[in-house]
């Protein structure tokens, strides 16, 4: 067992866990924060997306012990205009992927603001390009929605990105 201190949504939590426990399981099973969802558990769906020091990651592939000292933000710690926008734009049906979509979109907007290019960015040397629908779709491709609410998700993000 390993004794670690995990900072989640602004609070420190002392945990005594095995090193093989993922950050996802630590959040859900040890801290009762079930907003973060387990989809594929192999980094292929994005349902488990959380923010670590503001960067989006797949918590299912993250050993919790590796994230000691990092500031983890889950959907429970988020109050963001994106949440209202997802509701207005029908960016969900069953809602299972939504916490991951929201966390991912917050991370994505920060990346874009920082000048991070994407696979569809036309000129890599130019920073600060427009976040159009093609960019949003590419940058959000790590989050699957099996209900297929993608059009609503894109328009919700576009609305908030302004």
């Amino acid at each position: 067992m390993a004794e670690i201190s995990l900072r989640v949504n602004g609070s420190a939590h002392e945990l005594d866990i095995q090193p093989q426990v993922s950050l996802l399981d630590a959040l859900r099973e040890h801290l009762g924060l079930t907003g973060t969802k387990k989809g594929c558990d192999q980094g292929a769906c994005g349902a488990c997306t959380v923010l670590a020091d503001g960067e989006r990651i797949n918590s299912c592939l993250a050993p919790a012990v590796q994230y000691e000292g990092r500031e983890i933000t889950t959907i429970e710690g988020i109050g963001h205009p994106l949440q209202e926008a997802f509701v207005h734009a029908d960016g969900l049906q069953c809602g299972y992927c939504t916490p991951g979509q929201i966390c991912s979109a917050i991370g994505m907007l920060a990346e874009h603001k920082d000048g991070m290019p994407s696979a569809v960015t036309e000129h890599l040397a130019v920073t600060g390009g427009e976040l159009d629908d093609a960019e949003i779709r590419e940058r959000m491709s790590g989050n699957l929605c099996r209900c297929g609410a993608y059009n609503g998700i894109v328009s919700a993000i576009r609305e908030v990105a302004g």
Partner: protein, 331 residues
């Protein structure tokens, strides 16, 4: 997942000593491949040494125009770096075409070089796989082979190498710097990944006690005019069926320099030296591009399900060169 002991290495020296002295020790970087393989029972380390706190996170310009990239630079940081984007646009593009943004935020440069194949039979514990269980055979041959390699395969293994980043590194003649308690070695990227031959479980030239510390990019002026093109089953977030890293210089309608590497089709990141030879001094025309692609793909061996890759690779090579010629680099 099997239990293991965990240690976070405070410095390179400690990491190297633990792996030299212990049995079944694995280094943990971003975890995006290793954690998955551990969960599947394919990797079963007794001890995991977390190396993400080591000071190997710099991207530095070298005298002479090259760039040194620390092994623990995250894939997203590499792709975002303006020096990389302008001097080696093919590398930034290749990285951005791999995985998802979440995975790129986690994955390291060193780990990307060591990622293992996504061959379905490698992942299926009930199937024969010489890579996973040496000597057990290869169910991929004659099996569902859509994702399989057409270049560099053997009768023992047809698994395609999954990395996008490494394809660009192959094109750039990158050098992999590795370190152990025995000292430092510099391995040219062409020698870093091995062909499967009759030992497909041995995938790289890295010794069991070595740590990748950096990747060095030599000065490659032609890389200023470079691109990466990836063809896959969906528009994003999928492994390559075929990918092409290319750089091209043309003067007075004649190719004066060309570099080409392929992904998705080789058992290792595939430097297309035959195609490069055919291009050098040739007219910069669609015909010459096609002949160069055909020169490389003459050695391709495919099964019924991946035969399409030969034609797809040919067309993707031509399309990538054409775009370099007409539109210039991705920068």
């Amino acid at each position: 997942m099997r239990s293991f002991s965990y240690l976070s290495a405070p410095d390179v020296e400690t990491a190297l000593r633990v792996i030299a002295d212990g049995e079944g020790v694995k280094f943990l970087g971003g975890g995006t491949n290793l954690v998955d393989l551990m969960r599947e029972g394919i990797e079963r380390p007794a001890t995991v040494v977390d190396i993400t706190r080591l000071p190997l996170t710099g991207i530095e310009e070298l005298p002479g125009g090259g760039v040194r990239v620390g092994a623990l630079v995250r894939n997203s940081r590499l792709a975002a770096d303006l020096l990389i984007r302008t001097r080696y646009p093919v590398l930034a593009q290749a990285v951005l075409h791999g995985a998802s943004a979440q995975l790129r935020n986690m994955a390291t440069v060193g780990g990307n070089l060591l990622q293992r194949t996504r061959c379905l039979y490698f992942y299926d514990g009930a199937a024969a796989c010489n890579k996973r269980a040496p000597g057990s055979g290869c169910d991929a041959i004659g099996g569902f082979s859509r994702g399989g390699a057409i270049l560099g395969a053997s009768e023992h293994c047809v698994a395609a190498h999954p990395s996008d980043m490494a394809v660009a590194l192959a094109m750039l003649d990158a050098v992999v710097e590795v370190e152990s308690v025995r000292g430092v070695r510099r391995i040219p990227i062409a020698d870093f990944h091995r062909l499967p031959g009759d030992t497909p479980h041995i995938e790289t030239a890295l010794a069991a006690d070595e740590l990748i510390t950096a990747v060095e990019l030599p000065p490659v002026p032609v890389a200023a005019n470079s691109r990466y093109r990836k063809v896959r089953d969906r528009a994003s977030y999928a492994f390559a069926l075929v990918s092409v890293a290319a750089a091209l210089n043309v003067e007075d309608g004649v190719v004066t320099e060309a570099r080409l590497a392929l992904g998705g089709v080789g058992t290792k990141p595939w430097r297309a030296t035959e195609a490069e030879r055919a291009l050098l001094g040739a007219p910069a025309t669609e015909d010459a591009f096609r002949r160069a692609a055909e020169a490389e793909l003459a050695a391709a061996v495919a099964g019924p399900q991946n035969a399409f890759k030969i034609e797809l690779a040919r067309r993707t090579i031509v399309a990538t060169l054409r775009r370099l010629l007409t539109e210039g680099s991705a920068a």
